[in-house]
């Protein structure tokens, strides 16, 4: 038995909860973080989000770009000692494609038509169109020898109490609010220095910050801004406000159909644009988010390869005058002197803005937006509800405006797909529909030339920005911290990004104890 001191144990606290240990039914981001360590995908990301070998040691595509051949690492064993083979890959992909399980991963697999295993170490995947995101696929490969034992109908609720993967860390134990993984000495790649990672979920962020300061944990995710200031003063801790993929937006109901329950005035682009002009996004960033974020514009974060930055002419930065001019010119004036503009028919510019009650920043933002819009004669009534109720409103199209956020990933497909006509009734919350946008969406999926693909994605962002179904307020940061008195070797990913929860395992593999 080893004593406690000899082990390099690193504890990561996060304010997000874990759900199930079953990758087929889990949907919590916090859970993915350790799945990433326990299970390997075929291809991983490096710290620059370039594809690097995972279970596939190299890969190749055919001339017509419709067939992919993956050569697998040799001698890989599952944590239980069983050998890993190409059949496991085939099994995992087919299971997810057939059953729809593994919600978070299965859409990476769209376009795959056939999987062949010519030998134990080769997987050949055929697609029906050139699959642009083939290498941006983080689907974990699961052990066939274990899953095939479980009846199909029970796969979803399978507890997976003892996850078996091929990853660099093995599952060790699980407590009420923590999961512990220990290093896999038999791993086919390099063995990291940290012997075990403990992922702890906290209900209360303050407790987490306290624990960090007390040294009970070594790293923390999702701290709040007050703690940021506090931890800045703590020399033992390295705290960062890292950029994260995703944004917070005001969704505007622009559903043109008759059954829309939103205020019809919002169907008018001019009004949506005027609203954006009147919102002091910088102040929201500064006050509601305490400066931890950047003013938002388009669907993809700045710094991302695919980000489109609106031109000076396109940009609608905060300007009350411009907003007033725009409204005046479209014929909305305050004719009865009550401080609220009316349409020519006398319809007041009065909208409901729904925020999710337990999201403090968003509630604050909502209140600030209401105050901003009042300045230009648009009356906003703040309403709060919980996410479930808001979801109902969104699905039913019975709202005017709401505040919510999206997280995104490396591949632009997912986040741009949200505004396609296909997704109306699903993720397309503002009921936005634009033919050109839809067309571009399909094209970019099949474009393997990066530059060309970026052009398309840019145009999509341009359209979305011009039409303003989403008024993107902020790209918010994630505040994270690590006990730098004890650990070294970690870095922000990408350069202005975060330590953890950034889709790569770079830091987990490179953290070292301080000598």
């Amino acid at each position: 038995q080893t004593s406690e001191e000899e082990i390099n144990s690193f504890t990561v606290g996060s304010s997000a909860a874990f759900d199930t240990m079953n990758p087929l039914s889990s949907y919590m981001q916090a859970t993915y973080e350790f799945f990433m360590l326990i299970y390997d995908p075929l291809v991983k990301y490096d710290e620059n989000y370039e594809p690097i070998p995972g279970l596939a040691k190299d890969w190749d595509t055919s001339e017509d770009e419709l067939t992919w051949t993956f050569n697998l690492q040799e001698g890989v064993k599952w944590h239980d000692g069983e050998p890993f083979t190409s059949d496991d890959v085939k099994y995992t992909y087919e299971l997810m494609m057939d059953t729809g399980l593994g919600y978070m991963y299965s859409s990476y697999l769209t376009g795959i038509t056939d999987i062949q295993c010519p030998d134990e170490n080769t997987v050949v995947i055929s697609t029906d169109f050139p699959k642009a995101n083939m290498l941006m696929n983080s689907t974990p490969i699961l052990p066939e020898h274990i899953l095939s034992e479980i009846p199909d109908e029970e796969l979803e609720i399978w507890a997976n109490e003892n996850p078996v993967g091929t990853g660099v860390y093995k599952f060790d134990s699980q407590g009420d609010n923590f999961v512990k993984v220990v290093v896999n000495e038999d791993y086919f790649g390099d063995i990291p220095e940290v012997d075990e990672y403990i992922f702890v979920s906290y209900d209360n962020i303050d407790s987490m910050a306290q624990s960090l300061m007390l040294g009970e944990i070594d790293g923390a995710n999702n701290l709040n801004t007050a703690q940021y200031n506090q931890l800045m003063d703590d020399e033992n801790v390295s705290v960062i406000s890292g950029e994260e993929k995703g944004f917070m937006q005001v969704g505007v109901n622009c559903w043109t159909a008759d059954e829309s329950g939103g205020n019809p005035l919002l169907k008018e682009k001019g009004i949506r644009q005027a609203i954006e002009l009147a919102i002091n996004k910088q102040k929201i960033v500064d006050m509601a988010y305490n400066g931890h974020g950047t003013v938002g514009t388009t669907l993809i974060n700045p710094g991302d390869y695919f980000h489109y930055e609106p031109t000076e002419a396109e940009l609608r930065s905060y300007s009350i005058d411009k907003a007033n001019d725009l409204l005046d010119s479209t014929g909305y004036v305050d004719s009865n002197g009550d401080g609220v503009r009316e349409s020519s028919e006398g319809e007041p510019l009065e909208f409901e803005l729904i925020t999710i009650a337990d999201n403090l920043e968003e509630v604050k933002s909502g209140q600030m937006i209401a105050a901003d819009l009042a300045e230009v004669g648009i009356k906003v009534n703040n309403v709060t509800m919980d996410s479930g109720a808001l979801y109902d409103q969104i699905i039913g199209g019975t709202y005017d405006m709401f505040i919510w956020g999206w997280g995104s990933d490396v591949d632009p497909t997912v986040i741009t797909g949200v505004l396609t006509t296909d997704q109306i009734g699903g993720n397309n919350e503002p009921f936005f529909s634009n033919e050109r946008y839809d067309e571009l969406f399909l094209l970019q999926q099949q474009e393997l030339d990066e530059e060309a693909r970026r052009e398309m994605v840019w145009e999509m962002q341009q359209i979305a920005y011009e039409e303003a179904p989403y008024i993107i307020i902020i790209y918010a940061n994630n505040i994270q911290a690590i006990r730098s008195d004890r650990w070294t070797g970690f870095k922000q990913i990408p350069e202005t990004g975060t330590y953890f929860f950034n889709l790569t395992d770079y830091n987990y593999l490179n953290i070292k104890p301080v000598e």
Binding site: A226, Q227, Q230, M287, A357, D358, Q367, N382, V383, T384
Partner: protein, 289 residues
């Protein structure tokens, strides 16, 4: 003549309250808060409630801001004063709802007895036994987090205790001879309930009111704290919610998380003191020397 008597009675009660140290303390504290709730917002201009400048965020107490500012740069004192109105309004209206339901159910069950009593009492038992906070949480989640929903939720979950005591009292009053005497002169049920039962259960309802009000205010605070309050209404509970969620404890912003809590404690304490004292005044056994 009659109203002179009524005033006289109220004066007597007032005297009893004034003599009872607990009641007096409670009445004074509550009185101050009620005055603040009524006149405070007039004295403190609302502009101080609006978001301040970025450099005003979470400032400690100073000459400019007596109790400092919150994380939105608002004056905490102004917030507190404004919150007094909301918290007390919630307390008052929710209590009224509770009292109305409780008294009605109690009197009906106690007076008519038998089947109606059984049905009403099973119903009351249910509300009495069911843990109030989870029930409120679920109801608040169902109805959504608006001020009136919160009031409604607190109101309809708080009446069971009152119904029980009113029922017991009604049953004992019903057996009193003056009720039987009234029956014997040919009076109907409504007459008896209004003229004889109600006035006699009233002191009890009154003493209960203050206790229910205390519970109502704590309930509001707790619901708000758990994120089930109305975030657009800056009640004390909501202030605490913002304070704790916004990391006021980590930031050491004691001026943010202490005052609303102290206000809640004081108001609840004043109600508790009054309730306890009323109990003593109305229950001769407990009466002091």
């Amino acid at each position: 003549m009659k109203w002179i008597l009524r005033i006289k009675k109220m004066k007597e009660f007032g005297k009893a309250v004034a003599k009872n140290k607990m009641a007096l303390t409670g009445a004074v504290i509550l009185g101050v808060f009620i005055l603040v709730a009524i006149f405070g917002p007039i004295l403190v201009p609302f502009s101080t409630m609006e978001f301040g400048a970025v450099e005003d965020m979470l400032q400690p107490p100073s000459g400019k801001y007596l109790l400092g500012t919150d994380d939105m740069g608002r004056d905490i004192l102004a917030n507190l004063i404004h919150g007094a109105r909301i918290s007390l309004l919630i307390g008052a209206v929710a209590t009224l709802i509770s009292m109305f339901i409780g008294t009605l159910v109690g009197i009906l069950a106690g007076y008519f007895g038998k089947g109606l009593d059984n049905v009403l009492m099973r119903f009351t038992d249910f509300f009495l036994v069911i843990p109030w906070l989870p029930l409120m949480m679920v109801l608040a989640a169902i109805l959504g987090t608006s001020l009136w929903n919160i009031i409604f939720v607190i109101g309809i979950t708080g009446w069971a205790g009152t119904a029980r005591v009113v029922r017991a009292q009604t049953m004992s009053i019903k057996e009193r001879q003056f009720v039987e005497r009234t029956v014997s002169i040919g009076a109907g049920n409504l007459h008896i309930m209004l003229r004889h039962i109600l006035p006699n259960v009233f002191p009890l309802v009154f003493a209960n009111t203050v206790l229910v009000a205390a519970v109502a205010i704590v309930s509001e605070t707790t619901l708000s704290f758990l994120g089930l309050g109305d975030p657009t209404m800056a009640s004390w509970g909501m202030m605490l919610h913002y304070a704790f969620e916004g990391g006021a404890t980590a930031a050491g912003a004691y001026w943010y998380y202490l005052p609303p809590g102290i206000c809640v404690v004081l108001v609840v304490l004043s109600f508790t003191l009054l309730g306890y004292a009323f109990d003593e005044i109305l229950n001769p056994k407990l009466r002091g020397r």
